[in-house]
């Protein structure tokens, strides 16, 4: 039942990303599909997380003709996810292991974790995507994604955690 629910969540988030968020603002990219890898149970092994990041990023690449950039940066994020969790979340939460929802994680830590994760993802993504040109536009996109992304993921987890 948990697996079925998670698959549904993945499909929902991917649809939301590909069919709505990719089309809503030209030039601004809110990568809410990162919630698929960021909210996952802490006890998932790293290799599984790497594969999940690769697949999810690859799907978004195919849907948005991203040519592998989403996959590359998302794999990178999944690789550093565990150290990031240990750095930002309370030890007790890490030891208990489970999905990262605000029911278990204090709000402040939750947003710190998400903001750092989005920043880690956004910086290489937007720099590589722009081809090292127009630094101001890149900076704006990084800031917007880092600020708005965690809020949307927060709302999403409120919606799906039950």
């Amino acid at each position: 039942m948990k697996v079925f629910g998670y698959v549904l969540f993945v499909l929902f988030v991917l649809a939301l990303q590909v069919f709505f968020l990719d089309r809503m603002w030209s030039g601004i990219f809110i990568s809410i599909y990162l919630s698929i890898v960021l909210l996952v149970d802490i006890k998932w092994p790293v290799w599984a997380m790497l594969l999940l990041g690769f697949i999810v990023g690859g799907i978004v690449d195919i849907a948005s003709t991203g040519c592998g950039l989403n996959a590359a940066v998302t794999v990178c994020l999944t690789f550093v996810r565990l150290p990031l969790i240990k750095l930002t979340l309370p030890t007790l939460v890490v030891e208990n292991a489970g999905p990262i929802f605000t029911t278990d994680v204090p709000l402040k830590n939750f947003f710190l974790y998400l903001s750092l994760a989005f920043a880690i993802w956004s910086i290489p993504f937007f720099i590589l995507e722009s081809g090292f040109t127009s630094p101001l536009a890149v900076l704006i996109r990084i800031v917007v994604n880092t600020l708005i992304g965690p809020v949307i993921v927060f709302l999403l987890q409120l919606f799906i955690r039950h």
């Binding site: 069919f19 690769f54 195919i62 849907a63 003709t65 592998g68 996959a71 590359a72």
Partner: protein, 286 residues
């Protein structure tokens, strides 16, 4: 096998296990960055193709939905556009009327163009109200036509409006008419039955009459100028032995009357006076 070899193999396996995650990470990154940095056109076209396969049905749905939602807005814009065109058309018709007045090919003495304000066609005696009156030069007895043919004649006027007796007025309308290309005339009137069909009676039976022949006004009338189109013969029969009785389908569609032109008959007053004086005197030379 020496025991030392197994120990080394065990260590190697442990090491590989330890770095397997890093290896997997590097492999996945390698694949992703390969696609990103090579960006060869063949691969890109494949990407686009797959991407379109996924997103096109959704895009089509969104486009259909958006166009449906924006129908109200488009409808409103079309209505505005229509109103503007109607206004322009009115102005052009007025200009055309002035132009016709100035140099008409038919030499029609157009007094003015007028908009139809009220148009009856359901009764036995129908009238039309137009937005031009005495101030515009309209007076009783003037004929009224549209671009297709005869509409009626002015019966009452005020300073700004006039009432027109429609050709579909059973008791009020009677004039003479002829077939195009002939000089034989008959009486044209409406029997009060079918809107759009006038009756042409007293046409001599020796003339050649066919369905589709054009009916025109004659010079006998002191209301309508000669040769104004009335309609086409729809049906005919011989009545009273020596006369044709025919149904005339009018060119003017009374249901779609919007603008009409008021015509002046030259020297009407002089002709009316002369004819009435002759009648009073009974035609006896004194």
């Amino acid at each position: 096998m020496p025991e030392d070899f197994f120990d080394k193999m065990k260590e190697l396996l442990l090491f590989l296990k330890k770095i397997s995650v890093v290896v997997l990470f590097l492999v996945l990154e390698g694949i992703s960055f390969y696609f990103f940095f090579t960006k060869d056109t063949y691969m890109l076209s494949k990407y686009v193709l797959i991407s379109k396969e996924i997103t096109v049905p959704f895009d089509r749905f969104v486009a259909t939905f958006s166009s449906y939602v924006s129908l109200v807005e488009k409808n409103s814009a079309l209505a505005d556009c229509n109103a503007r065109l109607i206004s322009e058309n009115m102005e052009l018709k007025r200009l055309l009327a002035d132009s016709v007045k100035a140099e008409s090919k038919l030499d029609l003495p157009v007094v003015c163009a007028a908009k139809v304000l009220k148009n009856e066609y359901r009764y036995e005696n129908n009238f039309i109200t137009i937005d031009r009156g005495e101030l515009d030069g309209v007076s009783c007895g003037m004929s009224v036509i549209d671009e297709n043919g005869v509409v009626g004649f002015v019966s009452n006027t005020s300073s700004s409006f006039s009432v027109v007796v429609s050709v579909f007025n059973k008791d009020g309308f009677l004039t003479s008419a002829k077939l195009a290309g002939t000089s034989n005339t008959g009486s044209l009137f409406w029997d009060g039955k079918t809107t759009g069909i006038l009756q042409l009676s007293e046409m001599p039976s020796h003339i050649d009459i066919n369905v589709g022949d054009t009916v025109l006004t004659t010079s006998y009338s002191n209301i309508f100028p000669e040769n104004i189109p009335v309609g086409r013969i729809k049906d005919f029969k011989i009545s009273e032995g020596t006369f044709y009785s025919a149904e005339v389908e009018t060119f003017t569609d009374v249901h779609k009357l919007n603008y009409v032109y008021v015509l002046e008959v030259k020297n009407k007053y002089e002709r009316d006076s002369l004819e009435s004086a002759a009648k009073q005197e009974g035609g006896i030379l004194k």
